[in-house]
């Protein structure tokens, strides 16, 4: 429907498909990494700051290859640190990664001396932003690659499939012998790695690393995951859903930009899409209709839940 509407009103979004794909990849890449964490019922609010720190680390190292490796290692370490706080220390992932969000943002400013860090090899960055195969830039190709890897991991690899079990019912997963702690570590490290990869791509494409980068990425990537049907409580969703969410948001954003809709109105429209995506979920509909029935019968909604609270608490 998004595609059809856009085709009618803004066909440029399709004739210049590489631009639209670039926008989808911008939002979708971080969202793919987040999916791994959300599937286990956890949150990672530090992805945007991880993106900023990784970019700054990469740009601060003159050797490009070494910089990229260092940035990706930093992403893995940040993911491990988040998991440590959640699994070992026992802090709620919302709070742990919120703290990490501020810590990393400050760290990005300190490392960059509070200024954007330009790449030592700007030409390499400009080349990176140009199409590599057909009209596909490296960002788009890396997004497709990450999507395939994540899809195979979550559907074909035992460790990945166990993410659903950890998110669906953690105690049952433990009882079934699944090493829940290790899975959570893995999920956070994937999220950190992918966010760092996004930071590297952004810094390369912009030829500089901005310590304030990613200010709109966090909410967009969560929105992509939610629109794509990932349940924030964990246990349900797929990277296909995330891809669908990122595609919908990406096409919508490009169409709205081409239509010269001001940013405030864009946010209203995107927020509306998000709400519709959530409330049109079958579980939400069952929960709401059950509550309405209960209310009409004169009973208390709170005292007589008509559905399983776990099912009713739907965020995606």
């Amino acid at each position: 429907m998004v595609a059809t509407g856009t085709w009618i009103t803004q066909p440029v979004a399709f004739t210049s498909y590489q631009v639209t794909l670039g926008r989808i990849a911008l939002v979708g890449l971080v969202a793919l990494g987040l999916t791994a964490v959300i599937l286990m019922g956890e949150l990672d609010l530090s992805v945007a700051s991880t993106l900023a720190v990784a970019g700054v680390v990469m740009a601060s190292i003159d050797n490009l290859a070494l910089g990229i490796i260092a940035a990706l290692v930093v992403g893995l370490l940040i993911g491990a640190a988040n998991a440590f706080l959640v699994v070992v220390v026992g802090i709620n992932s919302f709070i742990a990664t919120l703290g990490m969000l501020f810590l990393l943002r400050g760290l990005a400013f300190v490392i960059s001396d509070e200024e954007p860090v330009r790449l030592s090899n700007i030409d390499a960055g400009i080349s990176f932003g140009k199409p590599l195969i057909g009209e596909f830039t490296p960002r788009i190709l890396l997004f497709i690659f990450t999507f395939i890897v994540m899809h195979l991991f979550l559907t074909r690899v035992r460790v990945g499939r166990e993410f659903y079990a950890v998110g669906g019912n953690r105690q049952a997963a433990r009882d079934a012998g699944i090493p829940v702690r290790r899975r959570i570590f893995t999920g956070f490290m994937i999220s950190g790695l992918v966010a760092a990869g996004s930071g590297v791509i952004n810094a390369l494409e912009r030829t500089a690393a901005d310590p304030t980068a990613g200010s709109t990425v966090l909410l967009s990537s969560f929105a992509a995951a939610i629109v794509g049907g990932i349940l924030l409580n964990g246990g349900r969703g797929s990277v296909f859903g995330t891809l669908l969410g990122a595609t919908s948001l990406g096409i919508l954003q490009v169409a709205l930009t081409l239509s010269v809709v001001q940013v405030d109105v864009q946010n209203i429209i995107i927020g509306s899409v998000l709400f519709i995506a959530v409330i049109s979920d079958p579980n939400s509909i069952r929960a709401v209709s059950g509550s309405v029935r209960s209310f009409l019968r004169g009973g208390s909604v709170l005292s007589k839940p008509s559905v399983d609270p776990k099912e009713a608490t739907n965020n995606g």
Partner: protein, 355 residues
């Protein structure tokens, strides 16, 4: 595994609901672009082109121009920058397509890609982060689209990729504020606190350098005791100033500099909260805004530097029009005059605040 059965279900209701919202949004978007003459709403969308607007203008729209801005009606400056820009565009027959990246460099880069794909006659760029616009400029050059810069100039090595710049001399503004500080210090040894703009922002960096270089050159008797970012925000600035007063001791501070009037208001409030009369301090700023000008008149702010948002918005379009019509051989540079405003001239109509 049971989990696979729990994956997201796509129901007809869900598809229909989403589809209706998206279709309505896109229809609204398509119509929104044709409803631009409502400048009272202040909407950036309203700056867009319309058949009605074109009909009321002297010249029929001849040029398609994308304006990639980092702010719009979400900021006081943008609110008063846009209407003169729109009016001048209507007058000169320019269809303006305005975006607002909210100072997100990645978002602006993406908007630039969209703009290049739309193949306009020209792009007006206000860089969100000056260091990151090179690829955008290269892409526009490859597509044969001229780029002019407004408000904050690009880096020196990127200037040959642009046709013009109009806007404040941000370094010069900092220098002018520094000159005011030196004049008011009048040779006395004083210590000051410094509140800068958003960290990493090119205007913030230029103003800080302009101010600091000037006091280093012209009045070594002025010492910067502490500095912190105030993020162009009064509350952040008040907090930053309060922390600096605690850190260096109120008794050691005889003055303050803030990179704009919004933040200097925060500094003044922080001083008052500590029982310090700002009139006894030497305080300078930049802007001469609706907030700053009364502070100059009341004597709480010793001096500021006038920045005219209407000049800025209007000249962004006139300079773009020059490029479109004259194909100038050399890069056009038009600096906004950096007029110093003190108690002596704060009431003059020539420096009446605009934002």
């Amino acid at each position: 595994m049971d989990n696979h059965r729990k994956e997201s279900k796509i129901t007809p209701f869900r598809v229909l609901s989403l589809g209706l919202v998206v279709a309505a949004s896109l229809l609204f978007a398509a119509c929104g672009g044709d409803d631009s003459d409502d400048s009272s709403s202040g909407s950036a969308a309203s700056t867009a082109t319309t058949t009605e607007a074109a009909a009321t203008t002297e010249a029929a729209a001849q040029y398609e121009v994308f304006a990639l801005l980092p702010q719009g009606n979400d900021q006081p400056y943008g609110t008063t920058y846009l209407p003169p820009m729109m009016a001048k565009a209507d007058e000169l027959g320019i269809n303006l397509n305005i975006t607002n990246s909210q100072y997100d460099a990645d978002k602006q880069a993406s908007e630039c890609e969209v703009a290049v794909a739309a193949n306009p006659d020209l792009i007006i760029l206000w860089p969100a982060v000056g260091d990151t616009v090179r690829p955008c400029l290269e892409a526009a050059k490859d597509a044969g689209i001229p780029v002019t810069v407004t408000n904050s100039d690009v880096n020196p090595e990127d200037k040959d990729l642009t046709e013009a710049y109009s806007g404040p001399d941000t370094y010069g503004q900092g220098a002018a504020s520094g000159e005011l500080m030196c004049e008011f210090a009048d040779g006395q040894d004083i210590g000051i606190i410094m509140v800068n703009g958003l960290t990493g922002n090119s205007t913030a960096i230029d103003r800080e350098n302009g101010f600091e270089d000037t006091i280093n050159e012209q009045c070594a008797n002025v010492t910067i005791l502490a500095r912190q970012p105030g993020n162009w925000n009064k509350d952040d600035s008040q907090l930053a100033a309060s922390e600096m007063i605690s850190a260096v001791g109120a008794e050691n501070i005889q003055g303050a500099y803030a990179a704009d009037d919004t933040m200097v208001a925060g500094v003044i409030d922080a001083l008052k909260a500590r029982g310090i009369d700002p009139a006894d301090m030497i305080i300078t700023s930049i802007g001469n805004t609706f907030l700053g000008n009364p502070l100059v008149v009341s004597g709480e702010l010793d001096g500021t530097v006038f920045q005219s948002s209407s000049w800025d918005g209007e000249h962004a379009v006139t300079v773009a029009h020059q490029v479109l019509t004259n194909d100038p051989a050399a890069r056009i540079v038009e600096f906004m005059p950096s007029v110093k405003v003190t108690a002596d001239n704060a009431d003059d109509s020539s420096v009446a605040p605009e934002w």
